[in-house]
């Protein structure tokens, strides 16, 4: 055998594939995936799946079209320009779920820093184009509402070991029963709050998964929770799993993955937020002068709030709402340098370590604090070596010899009494004789904006700016070789010098020292503000003076360049800038003429300055031709208030018969020269672009030197032609830009392609793309065009005018100054609670009556009662109000409801600060934390403001007949006076039995309404009514009418920021609460009680026809009494005998019936037994549940009690 096998080839046993089981299935799956053509194999007969009928095809087509259309949303215009503000990530979850730990881990991941404590928002740079701001959501409902209003992304942390809920299904309703703790409640409340205030992006994060020992159970739980999460948000919503802790931190890889998910999420455009500016406050300062606080601890405070501007642009002078505090108008508003700037746009991969910035002033992190005019540097005490301390002299004496040169210099600098600029103040150099000596200025002007720090500081700040101005003066005098960048370099120099000068200032009394470094780019801001606010003459004079010097400085320059013959590129450049500046100045001038005082004096002291009207350099640079115009305008100012009339009547009219006059406007008509007119139009199109206005400023005469600057006239005309042709090109360019932007929005990664590639793809996409809703596309394109146009127009403006016109752009870091804030806000300020400052739109500060569509929340156990106060959150605000619920009847009448319907929408009318229609309404009845139930009582949206709507309720007047004539009756008790009857004349009435009638008139004494006794007064309020039939005395008469219900004009802002956070806010109490407190029973009205209706069968008397009448009746109609038959009839008498066959049948049926009955009886018995057993079982479980609930309640009460005691102690303390 062995031989044989050796000789021939050994026959291997063929591999036998598994025909069943998991592995065989696996193989098949893989194959299907691998082979592309296998899909065709599966469909053996492709014809089987083709359309067989045209109607079916049509249906299918319409269905796909419908799905497509449903996918589309009305595009929202994004008006933000420039860098977006940081992306707000709110981390929410029940207590002890790991919120702060997650933030800490994420911060560690991004910045490599360990965050000791999470307090307030934490801003960090997460990528080259992206910043993220983490906010931890506090666990009370106020905090949740505020957090939901600012979130761009909400991370919902869910305790995996616990889950969302214990859902027990009773019938079809999913009831919420919270056993053990109220953990999941918050998650669901937060979700609902977000839904009402615009749904931001949501991501679930499952924690505490290391509690599961069993893998299968873990998998099951994950699956279950995922599906529950999907049901709540949407199918396929992202749920993240954090499997456990390593060294007290989440697993690095998982945090990394989470960070990557966060980085790709785009914020959803939400209507309310797009239309309102808002800030999430990440820094808070109290700047009340300390002496005021010392004298009165409870004085109103001045505070400064810092944050990134989001939503839309914010204009100066707009009002804001600080959540939990109230509405305030801003005392000051300025933009600051970004504390957490995005890295430069250089092409490189990833972030450098230096650029991994983060900013969390409330958490006490980040060593630099930027203020408007100062930078605060926190230096740990052991790093402090050069600062002057009390024991400085000793140190100097002991270590004097060891100092090297640098150290000595530093010490010397500290020893100086006056700073350089103060010394400069004293050494005054005058350039122009006419300017008043600046030394005479009084530095202590109270109007100053510097109030925030304190008075001393303020003076210093003033000195500082003044000195800086002075330096500018000095420098332009001394610097001989000035080039075009002179101004910039000078500024920089000043900045550098100033930033070296550290001024010491002991800020806080708690042993820490804060140094204040002043840098000049902030001083610019100060000047701007000052210019806005101060009306001091002196300030103006300073400006004038300085501006003069400025001008003269440019003049020098001009002269020099005039001398140089060659028209180099350089010189043309400066000329452009000069022209632009003159142009700008003219623009500012016209704006000033219109708006009175200078719009903004800024232009920063050095670069550009505003001309004041009175100054003698008014027409310094004014084209000759236009010289009169301003004066003209001015002269017309004076009679502005003469009469309010839009028609502008000129007294003197030109004589239009004159030849030259006719010629002058000949080209304004189609009969004139079209080319000339076209040129005029084109100039219009791109005015403000380079060279078109040059013509007007060709002749600029220098009044001082008498020199005339004559611009290049020849070049001008050329350029004009160019621009003429360029207008269309410009239009085309803009369109192209818009298209590109749109494309970028659709395919965000195209930016990484090179330009060429991009163009190609663009073309392709427009060629190949299937037409998706032409209207939709057109709309999008229009929006993009609009945006491009806006950008272009805004970019043309000067910076300071732009801010004036447009407001501060979104994404800027703003500093808001608010005065006269209640002291409690500062006292109880808690950085753990996000502070939101929202801009108030026009008309939203008004208070009025709103109509909202609301629906009781299905998880709230009770219906809502009319006139029971609720706390609503609309827009930025939260306030308590007293609603009246109503439903609209078919005839358009609003009918009051005592309670909200159980599962239906109804109208709620309430009084409060107005919010625009469509904004979401969230109602909460109690804000306390120690309540087991779901706290959101109702949700809805505002429908309209309507001060005129009437809510009616039914009123029934009841009366009784007093006297009845034929069809007329006198009704008493319905009205109380004759006057009342007069009001109701002609009203429809009805008796209980359904007889209809009408009120006629009050009954006078002569008509049956006589007093019973003599001398008695005539009874008032008796009405004569007519009915369609005679009524009975036992009838009751009703008059159905409607009466208007007043809407209570009450609203109470919820001021949770003005009290300790652990105390729950108390407002107006509900009726039930009051009853409970005062032990007042529910009023009992006997008539309102429902009783079983007893309807006795009506007994009718037999009809009796009088014999007299009977006699006269014809025989046919006469009642015929039948004869009584005493014996049974034949019919009754006969016996029935069955056939044998019939008998058999009957017995069979009978026996079958008996059988059936017996069976039925047995079945019933069985059923009864079962039911009893079941009941027993139920009772048992009920007992257990009851016990559990009792325990739970006990636990809760204990906890509440503890908490209450704690707060009480705190308050007492």
């Amino acid at each position: 055998m062995a031989k044989e096998s050796g000789g021939s080839e050994q026959a291997h046993k063929a591999h036998r594939q598994h025909k069943s089981g998991a592995s065989s299935k696996k193989g098949k799956k893989g194959k299907n995936k691998g082979g592309d053509g296998s899909g065709a194999d599966q469909k053996k007969n492709p014809k089987a799946f083709a359309f067989t009928s045209s109607t079916k095809a049509k249906k299918l087509q319409s269905r796909t079209a419908e799905i497509e259309q449903r996918r589309l949303h009305m595009p929202v215009m994004d008006r933000s320009i420039g860098e977006p503000p940081p992306f707000v990530v709110v981390v929410q979850g029940p207590p002890q779920v790991g919120k702060s730990l997650l933030i800490k881990c994420l911060v560690k991941y991004y910045t490599k820093h360990n965050l000791p404590e999470v307090r307030g928002p934490i801003t960090l740079v997460s990528g080259k184009h992206r910043r993220v701001q983490f906010v931890e959501c506090p666990n009370d409902i106020n905090g949740m509402i505020d957090a939901a209003k600012i979130a761009d992304l909400a991370l919902l942390l869910i305790d995996g070991s616990y889950g969302f809920e214990m859902s027990v299904i009773y019938g079809t309703f999913l009831l919420f029963i919270m056993v053990e703790s109220q953990k999941p409640r918050e998650t669901f409340e937060f979700l609902n709050i977000m839904q009402v205030h615009g749904f931001p992006k949501v991501m679930g994060v499952l924690t505490h998964l290391d509690g599961f020992k069993d893998v299968k159970k873990l998998r099951k739980t994950k699956q279950r929770l995922k599906h529950r999460f999907w049901a709540e948000i949407m199918h396929g919503a992202k749920l993240f799993y954090l499997s456990g802790l390593i060294h007290g931190k989440y697993v690095k890889r998982e945090v990394h993955n989470l960070a990557r998910f966060i980085s790709v999420i785009k914020p959803t455009p939400l209507t309310w937020r797009m239309a309102h500016p808002y800030l999430l406050i990440d820094r808070f300062e109290d700047t009340t002068p300390p002496h005021r606080v010392l004298t009165d601890k409870k004085c109103d405070r001045n505070i400064i709030l810092y944050g990134y501007l989001r939503g839309c642009n914010m204009k100066k002078g707009s009002k804001v709402h600080i959540t939990g505090v109230g509405d305030f108008s801003l005392a000051g508003m300025s933009s600051l340098a970004d504390p957490c700037p995005l890295p430069s746009a250089a092409k490189k991969k990833g972030l450098r370590d230096k650029e991994k910035l983060f900013y969390a002033p409330m958490s006490g992190l980040g060593d630099l604090l930027y203020d408007k005019d100062a930078v605060y540097i926190n230096i740990n005490d052991h790093f402090v070596q050069f600062s002057k301390t009390d024991g400085d002299n000793d140190m100097a004496s002991t270590k004097g010899k060891d100092h090297d040169v640098g150290q000595v210099m530093v010490k010397n600098l500290q020893a100086t009494k006056f700073s350089i600029d103060e010394r400069l103040d004293q050494s005054f150099i005058n350039i122009f004789g006419r300017t008043p000596p600046v030394l005479a200025l009084n530095y202590n002007d109270g109007e100053n904006d510097e109030r925030q720090i304190d008075i001393e500081d303020q003076n210093q700040g003033d000195d500082q700016e003044l000195s800086e101005k002075k330096r500018a003066v000095v420098e332009c005098d001394t610097d001989e070789d000035s080039n075009d960048n002179e101004e910039v370099s000078e500024k920089e120099a000043g900045q550098a010098r100033q930033s070296c000068e550290l001024r010491e200032k002991v800020e806080i009394g708690d042993g820490r020292i804060r140094r204040r470094a002043i840098s000049s780019n902030f001083t610019d801001d100060v000047e701007e503000e000052e210019g806005d606010e101060s009306s001091d003459d002196e300030d103006e004079r300073v400006d004038n003076h300085e501006q003069l010097s400025d001008d003269s400085y440019y003049l020098e320059e001009t002269d020099k360049d005039e001398d140089s013959e060659d028209e180099a590129v350089n010189s043309s450049k400066w000329k452009e800038s000069l022209i632009a500046r003159t142009l700008a100045r003219r623009g500012v001038n016209l704006i000033q003429l219109v708006y009175g005082q200078p719009v903004s004096n800024q232009a920063s002291a050095v670069s550009d300055s505003s001309e004041s009207e009175q100054s003698d350099d008014e027409d310094f640079f004014k084209p000759k031709g236009q010289a009169n115009k301003g004066i003209d305008d001015k002269s017309s100012f004076d009679d502005i208030n003469a009469e309010d009339c839009s028609k502008f009547v000129k007294l003197e009219l030109k004589d239009w018969h004159a030849r030259d006059l006719i010629e002058s406007i000949r080209d304004r008509f189609v009969t004139g020269d079209w080319s000339k007119a076209a040129k005029r139009g084109q100039d219009a199109n791109d005015n403000g672009e380079e060279g078109d206005d040059e013509g007007a400023y060709d002749y600029i005469e220098d009044l001082e030197t008498g020199e005339v600057y004559n611009g290049g006239v020849g070049a001008d005309s050329h350029e004009e032609d160019k621009t003429g042709a360029g207008a269309e090109a410009e239009e085309r360019r803009r369109k192209k830009l818009a298209l590109r932007a749109k494309f970028d929005a659709e395919y965000p990664f195209s930016t990484f392609l090179s330009d060429e590639e991009e163009k190609e793809t663009e073309n392709k996409s427009h060629g190949d793309k299937p037409k998706e809703g032409g209207f939709f596309d057109k709309l999008k394109e229009e929006m993009e065009l609009r945006k491009q146009l806006n950008m272009m127009e805004l970019n043309e403006m000067d910076e300071e005018i732009r801010v004036e016109v447009e407001g501060f752009r979104t994404g800027t870091y703003l500093r808001l100054e608010v005065h006269d804030v209640p002291y409690e806000m500062v006292e109880y300020f808690d950085p753990h609670h996000p502070l939101l400052v929202g801009g108030i739109g026009l008309g939203e500060e008004n208070v009025g009556c709103m109509q909202a569509t609301v629906k009781r929340h299905r998880w709230h156990k009770k219906v809502l009662k009319t006139r029971d106060p609720i706390i609503v959150s609309i827009g930025w605000r939260r306030f308590q109000t007293v609603p009246i619920y109503a439903l609209e009847d078919q005839n358009g009448r609003h009918r009051m409801l005592k309670y909200t319907p159980e599962h239906m929408h109804c109208l709620a009318m309430f009084w409060g600060p107005l919010a625009p229609p469509k904004s979401g309404v969230l109602a909460v009845q109690s804000l306390s934390n120690n309540q087991a139930t779901f706290r959101i009582t109702a949700t809805g949206y505002v429908q309209e403001f309507n001060h005129a709507t009437k809510i009616m309720k039914k009123i029934k007047l009841v009366g009784y007949p007093y006297k009845i004539f034929k069809k007329t009756a006198l009704i008493k008790d319905m009205f109380t006076s004759d006057l009342e009857i007069a009001r109701f004349e002609g009203a429809a009435i009805r008796t209980v039995s359904g007889v209809r009638g009408q009120v006629k008139k009050a009954v006078k004494a002569n008509l049956g309404n006589r007093p019973k006794k003599k001398g008695e007064k005539v009874k008032e309020g008796i009405a004569r009514c007519t009915f369609e039939d005679r009524i009975l005395m036992s009838d009751i008469v009703f008059l159905r009418a409607w009466t208007q219900v007043e809407i209570p004009q009450f609203y109470n802002p919820v001021t949770t920021s003005l009290q300790p956070r652990d105390q729950s806010w108390r407002g107006m109490k509900t009726t039930a609460e009051l009853r409970r407190e005062n032990n007042v029973p529910i009023p009992y009205n006997k008539d309102s009680v429902y009783k079983p209706i007893k309807r006795l069968p009506r007994k009718f008397n037999p009809l009796v026809i009088p014999p007299k009448l009977q006699k006269e009746l014809p025989f046919k109609t006469k009642p015929k009494a039948p004869l009584k038959i005493k014996r049974p009839t034949l019919d009754q008498k006969r016996a029935v005998i069955m056939e044998p066959h019939e008998k058999k049948l009957l017995t069979l049926v009978q026996s079958l019936r008996t059988l059936h009955n017996e069976k039925k009886r047995k079945r019933e018995l069985e059923k009864e037994k079962k039911r009893k057993a079941n009941e027993k079982e139920k009772a048992k479980t009920e007992e257990v549940l009851k016990k559990r609930r009792r325990e739970e309640r006990k636990e809760r009460y204990r906890r509440e009690d503890k908490e209450q005691r704690r707060t009480r102690r705190k308050i007492e303390a």
């Binding site: 708006y595 028609k647 502008f648 189609v670 219009a684 016109v805 107005l914 309209e944």
Partner: protein, 300 residues
């Protein structure tokens, strides 16, 4: 605000034109479309006449996204000249569904035709023809396409007192409408009392026609997409737009326009960027709208 069958007597101290301008803006942002009958003086020398309003002002709204035609209309039922008035107009204004739309309106174009209405109440119908003749005489040297309609009213349709006047509109190639109007009538009652002794002098029809034509030409000379009378309304409309940039061109700023600009800044918080365009002697204004929405409209 809004609804039908409203009625208001504008009194005799100011003409209806004075009330129309604010009413149109209020009406646009109302709850329901407005239909209102106004009674009083339709044409006087102080305020813009109702003819100008019908021919020019209503068409301005088109630029801001208010559809002309359905719901935007002005009918002159009766004319009334001062001092006794007796005129009656029917004004219909639709509501804006959400917001206006920002206008980029800087191309004035060239005048392609001139239209006008000359009216007379309770005077000889010949006067209208004389006015028209005089006005045409001036326009002859500019453009042939001139049509001035005559509107002679008598009896009830002519109101209480005699008067005549003319309203002229120039339409440009880009659809801008530039208007001018004048009217004459007896002095107001109170003014009459003061000067009882001398009879007030009235402008003869020929002079009136020439005056109107000259005024229109002067408006054309000034440039701008609207005439000086409509500057204020134009600015308000710009300021009421959504927060996009509106850009408009006007001739010389009028005192009323300036006052309106100030009021807009104070009440709406909208500041304009004002730049002169020396080439054409006009002024370019840019603003970012205040983003006012029609809040009173009911959503369904």
């Amino acid at each position: 605000m809004g609804g039908k069958r409203h009625m208001h007597d504008c009194g005799l101290s100011r003409s209806i034109g004075y009330f129309l301008e604010p009413l149109i803006i209020l009406g646009l942002f109302g709850k329901k479309p407005l239909t209102i009958t106004l009674k009083g003086i339709t044409n006087d020398s102080k305020d813009p006449s109702v003819d100008t309003f019908r021919t020019t002002t209503l068409h301005m709204l088109k630029r801001f996204g208010v559809p002309i035609g359905d719901g935007l209309d002005l009918k002159i039922e009766r004319r009334g000249a001062p001092p006794l008035g007796g005129g009656e107009i029917l004004l219909q204004i639709p509501i804006v569904p959400n917001t206006l739309s920002a206008a980029h309106w800087i191309d004035e174009g060239m005048v392609k035709k001139i239209r006008g209405i000359a009216f007379s109440t309770k005077v000889s119908p010949q006067i209208v023809n004389r006015v028209i003749y005089a006005a045409r005489g001036i326009f002859n040297s500019f453009i042939p396409d001139v049509h001035i309609f005559s509107d002679h009213r008598t009896n009830a349709a002519g109101g209480g007192s005699p008067g005549y006047g003319i309203s002229l509109v120039a339409e440009t190639t880009t659809g801008c409408l530039i208007s001018a109007d004048v009217a004459v009538s007896d002095r107001k009652a109170d003014e009459m009392e003061e000067e009882m002794d001398e009879k007030p002098k009235l402008t003869p029809p020929e002079e009136l026609g020439e005056q109107a034509a000259s005024m229109l030409l002067e408006e054309i000379e000034q440039g701008g997409v609207v005439d000086s009378t409509h500057q204020g309304l134009l600015f308000i409309l710009c300021a009421l737009c959504p927060p996009d940039v509106s850009k408009v061109r006007v001739g010389k700023l009028t005192p009323y326009g300036i006052e309106t600009l100030r009021n807009i800044r104070d009440f709406l918080g909208v500041t304009f960027d004002i730049k002169p365009d020396p080439n054409s002697g006009t002024v370019l204004l840019k603003c970012v709208g205040s983003g006012i929405k029609n809040l009173s409209r009911k959503i369904s």
